[in-house]
């Protein structure tokens, strides 16, 4: 079951990456990032069966960080939306210069 779950995690990660690259809606991009995090979580968990419980602890931390990230990220999105009236990433190009 280990190789299968690892390959599954790789696939999820790749799909998440693809989403980040191609989507324009910032919320969906965010979801894709969560997807990538989950792929990593899956890897941790599946390897933890062989390497010890530490992997699961890390997953715990990853989730916490993901929660924090989601909270802050969404707050930023809200404030951006207030400013531009849109969540399309094409609007956020202020950092170009």
């Amino acid at each position: 079951m280990l190789p299968e779950s690892l390959i599954l995690s790789a696939l999820i990660f790749v799909i998440g990456t693809m989403g980040v690259i191609v989507r324009r809606n910032v919320i969906i991009m965010f979801l894709c990032i969560e997807l990538q995090l989950n792929a990593v979580n899956l890897t941790f968990v599946s390897l933890s069966r062989y390497l010890g419980i530490d992997g699961q602890v890390f997953v715990f931390f990853v989730m916490t960080v993901a929660a924090a990230e989601a909270a802050v990220g969404l707050a930023i999105i809200i404030s951006i939306f207030r400013h531009y009236g849109s969540v399309d990433v094409d609007n956020f190009r202020m950092l170009k210069w």
Binding site: T17, V20, I21, V26, M29, V89, R93, K96
Partner: protein, 713 residues
């Protein structure tokens, strides 16, 4: 630490004990400091008045202490210095010493490989120069008390004048070339300050600047000559250079020739010879006593002093010597022609000075160092007298024109005429000087100028003289120039002092004789202009009727006196040139030619008097412009314009080119191009920064892929 011992009077002189030689130098410096402080104080007060908008800056200042003290301090310190010098001179005469006295005060510069002492040297050459500087300087200071009275910058004037004396003394008393250079540049500085004394008039300030810059060209030569001496001899001291010069340098070799040519450049700059004479006529912008002191009697003769001081080197370089003589005689002739057509009384005298300096150069150039130096002495007397006389005339003219508010040029001789009636003392003393400069027996100029011309002629006839034909030409030119001298001086005297007065009837009443301060120096100088020449009457002349059949007491004294300084040079010359001839190129002895030249000069004088008097002279404002050759000569052969076009304009164009093209367009722009290239690269890199998160994520992924690939494969 080396010890500073400012007035160190230890050490035993050879045969005589000098009395406070350092004080001679220090006194003028002291005067400079006191007058300088007074001048600053004074200037501050007048500046405050100007700031308040008051035009008349002299108001209320004349009576202040600052205005009466400099008149005492300035001449006072020089007078004391002169007395000290006299005491030393007498001691030296009694001591019969031949070795120079050297006093080292402190180490000026010392590195691992050289040591230059701040030291003075008193020898026969120096003491005579010091006597002239302090003596004539003292007289001119006294004259200035009257001449400059009422000028707002009175204390400043005396400060500069004292500073000049200080530097001039350093120049002649220094015991090595660098110390001499201190004086050399220092006098240039004072000349700059004094020419531009009335600095708020642009042409006067510019004249000072011109003098300084032209002098700096000479200084460049001085430095190079000194560097060459040091690299070959390892020392700057006169003593060691002249002691070892003969072994180190080869007679007529390229090295010594180069050194002497660089020294010549220095001398040419300082003594206003071709091609660097152009600053001297402009220097007449300064107050007239300054012209008398700096631009006639002392500073401009520094070049002659330099050649005389370095006589050994020049004697070893016949080519350089010939060039010195050539420059001298050609300048003498050239300047004399210009003097013929000038109307400004000071300009005439200025060109006359250039011309007479040319004679001195001729003298030292033909190896007659004593004769050249002798002419320096006599010239100091009569030219100082001429300038001071001119100063008295200008003073008087200025006063008269000022009284009636006539804006005529106070210095133009066409505006004068008939002044002898109002200024008899000036008139007589100036005639004495004129006769002296014209070389008429028994005035001072006769003996000195005649000796130079005679020596030139006899060198041409020497056994192994290097260029006999050339020296013959020099001799002829010198004779012709002597006649030109008579013409322009007589013309000046007749136009200024004789005939009808042209100043105007109202003004004529205001013309007056100079005050006591001013005419006493004139009289003293007049006396010396008569007897000054008797110190070096040559043996032949002394025995003849021209020397009163042996009755002139001091025959050949100067020659004998200067022997310690010049004998090695004479010795070298004798070895290589052989005995000099006792007859001129056209035959005839010294006495015959002396008598002939005096007679000729007298004849020319009388003819000139007759011609000038028969001329109708119109005042400057009504005079027609000169035409033809007169115009060329009046405009000084257009040399200034020529220089202006060739050198100054070229230099300015080069400078502008260097700035506008090289600096801004080439260097700065290429720096700009490098910077621009960097900016372009940055712009290219910034293209990847689209600002789109997706793109960044994509590039990020590519990066991961690359790293991953590298790790795996």
């Amino acid at each position: 630490m080396s010890n500073i011992n400012l007035i160190q009077e230890t050490g035993i002189g050879e045969g005589w004990e000098p009395l406070l030689p350092g004080l001679i130098i220090l006194l003028p410096l002291l005067g400079f400091f006191i007058n300088g402080v007074l001048a600053l104080w004074e200037a501050k007060k007048s500046a405050a008045i100007i700031r308040e908008g008051n035009e008349d800056t002299t108001a209320g200042l004349n009576s202040s202490k600052a205005h009466s003290w400099p008149g005492w301090i300035g001449p006072g310190v020089i007078g004391v210095a002169f007395v000290l010098t006299l005491i030393n001179f007498v001691r030296m005469l009694e001591g019969e010493a031949s070795e120079p006295i050297i006093r080292e005060y402190w180490t000026w510069m010392a590195t691992g490989s050289l040591e230059i002492a701040a030291a003075i040297q008193i020898d026969q050459l120096a003491i005579i120069m010091v006597l002239i500087i302090t003596g004539i300087g003292f007289l001119i200071h006294i004259f200035s008390v009257g001449y400059m009275h009422g000028d707002p910058g009175y204390p400043r004037y005396f400060a500069y004048l004292n500073l000049f004396i200080f530097f001039m003394l350093i120049l002649v008393m220094g015991s090595n070339y660098p110390v001499m250079f201190v004086g050399w540049e220092g006098v240039g500085l004072c000349s700059y300050l004094l020419i531009g004394y009335w600095f708020d008039q642009e042409e006067k300030a510019s004249a000072g600047k011109k003098a300084f810059i032209v002098n700096r060209i000479g200084d460049f030569g001085f430095l190079l000559a000194v560097f060459l001496l040091f690299t070959n001899l390892g020392t700057f001291d006169y003593g060691s250079i002249f002691a070892r010069g003969e072994e180190v340098f080869e007679y007529g070799g390229p090295l010594v020739t180069t050194i002497t040519l660089f020294f010549l450049l220095a001398a040419v700059g300082k003594s206003a010879q071709i091609p660097l004479y152009i600053w001297l006529p402009d220097a007449m912008a300064g107050p007239t006593p300054v012209s008398a002191l700096i631009h006639a009697a002392t500073m401009v003769t520094a070049g002659v002093y330099l050649v005389a001081r370095s006589s050994l080197l020049f004697a070893m370089a016949p080519v350089s010597s010939a060039i010195v003589a050539g420059i001298g005689v050609f300048t003498a002739f050239f300047a004399a022609t210009i003097a013929l057509k000038q109307y400004d009384i000071k300009k005439v005298l200025a060109y006359s000075t250039v011309s007479q300096l040319g004679y001195m150069f001729l003298g030292v150039g033909v190896g007659a160092y004593t004769a050249g130096f002798f002419h320096l002495i006599t010239h100091a007397f009569f030219k100082a007298l001429l300038f001071l006389g001119a100063g008295a005339v200008i003073h008087s003219m200025h006063y008269a024109l000022h009284q009636t508010h006539k804006d005529w040029d106070a210095q133009d001789i066409r505006n004068m005429g008939g002044l002898r009636k109002c200024m008899p003392i000036t008139w007589i003393t100036m005639w004495i000087a004129t006769l002296a400069i014209s070389g008429i027996w028994p005035f001072a100029g006769f003996f000195s100028k005649d000796e130079i011309i005679w020596m030139t002629g006899s060198i041409a006839g020497a056994d192994n003289a290097p260029y006999p034909g050339l020296y013959t030409v020099y001799w002829v030119m010198a004779l012709v120039t002597a006649m030109l001298t008579v013409i322009y001086m007589t013309r000046l005297m007749i136009m200024a002092f004789h005939g009808m007065n042209r100043t105007g009837s109202k003004e004529f009443g205001h013309l007056h004789e100079a005050p006591k301060h001013m005419w006493i120096p004139l009289v003293v100088l007049a006396v010396f202009s008569v007897i000054g020449g008797w110190i070096n009457v040559s043996k032949d002349i002394q025995q003849s009727f021209l020397g009163g059949f042996g009755n002139i007491p001091m025959a050949g004294w100067l020659h004998h006196w200067l022997e310690p300084v010049t004998e090695s040079a004479h010795h070298i010359q004798e070895i290589h040139w052989g005995a000099i001839s006792h007859s001129a190129p056209l035959g005839g002895g010294e006495v015959a030619w002396g008598a002939l030249s005096t007679t000729a000069a007298l004849i020319v004088l009388i003819v000139t008097v007759w011609m000038v008097r028969s001329d109708k002279i119109s005042v400057a404002t009504e005079d027609s412009d000169p035409r033809g050759l007169s115009k060329v000569i009046y405009n000084k052969w257009y040399v200034d314009e020529f220089y202006g076009h060739i050198f100054i304009r070229t230099l300015q164009r080069l400078s502008k080119f260097a700035w506008r093209i090289v600096d801004i367009k080439i260097i700065d722009r290429s720096v700009g191009i490098v910077a621009g290239g960097m900016r372009a690269l940055g712009w290219l890199a910034s293209l990847t920064q689209s600002g789109q998160v997706n793109t960044y994520a994509f590039i990020f992924t590519v990066g991961i892929l690359l790293i991953f690939g590298i790790v795996i494969f």
